[in-house]
Assembly symmetry: C2
Homo-oligomer: 145 residues x 2
């Protein structure tokens, strides 16, 4: 199972440590193609290797991935863009969201039938969420094979 993990980079790095924990948990379900998103040393400017190169590399990874798992609490153009592409390409998409006071998740995400949204408060609640998602993803993959 090839997993594309998405989290905010230039949108804000407040949740970088949380992304690290999610990637740690994801590793028990497959290969995470985008571990750099969880690099707590990486700041809000992201990688400095040229934006076209980042874009094309990330889309190539997303194309190869079996599924997209995104942490969507911090609003991010890049994460939204990747969800738009992934749903268009028929990938399974899981969005993890921590409900906020006086805010709501984008209707483009919460109202998209092709996306599974799961709310949580603490990272230790994700174990069950991820296990359920990957059980279904694996079942579908075996069916397709």
């Amino acid at each position: 199972m090839k997993i594309y993990f998405a989290g905010a980079i230039r949108g804000g790095r407040d949740d970088a440590a949380l992304y690290y924990e999610i990637v740690r948990q994801l590793r028990s379900f497959g290969e995470v193609l985008t571990e750099h998103v969880a690099d707590t040393e990486m700041g809000v400017l992201g990688q400095d290797i040229g934006d076209c190169r980042i874009h094309d590399r990330d889309l190539a990874w997303l194309k190869r991935a079996d599924c997209l798992v995104a942490e969507v609490t911090t609003p991010s153009l890049g994460v939204g863009y990747e969800i738009g592409k992934a749903t268009e390409w028929g990938k399974r998409v899981l969005c993890l969201y921590r409900p906020q006071l006086r805010r709501a998740l984008s209707a483009m995400i919460s109202g998209c039938e092709a996306v599974t949204v799961r709310e949580y408060k603490q990272p230790n609640q994700l174990e069950k969420v991820l296990a359920e998602f990957f059980a279904t993803a694996n079942a579908r993959r075996n069916q397709d094979a």
Copy 2:
């Protein structure tokens, strides 16, 4: 020319008055399908008509549109999602961005060949930017016809 305008709603309404000014300028180039984005009375929770309905309505508008014009200074999942869909559907995309201190535009947007990014500081600089974009968009439309 049918224009889909995108700006942050649940990502934050700091730029709502600016969206209003952009929509006002866009009207001289065609029909703006999404004028509600520029409604300065609408808060960060957006419309209360059901998220699936918002999602399906907005994607139907985007599909009908000839182009997408997005203000991308405030990070937004929904705007990113719409740019992902629009580029996948071969729509022309213009992103308007006000450079920020210690921040950078998402590499998924600035590094995407299918997107035209134009930086600006003041709304009065947009007249020229929009005129150029729509001159090219109209020329391409006439070529395709």
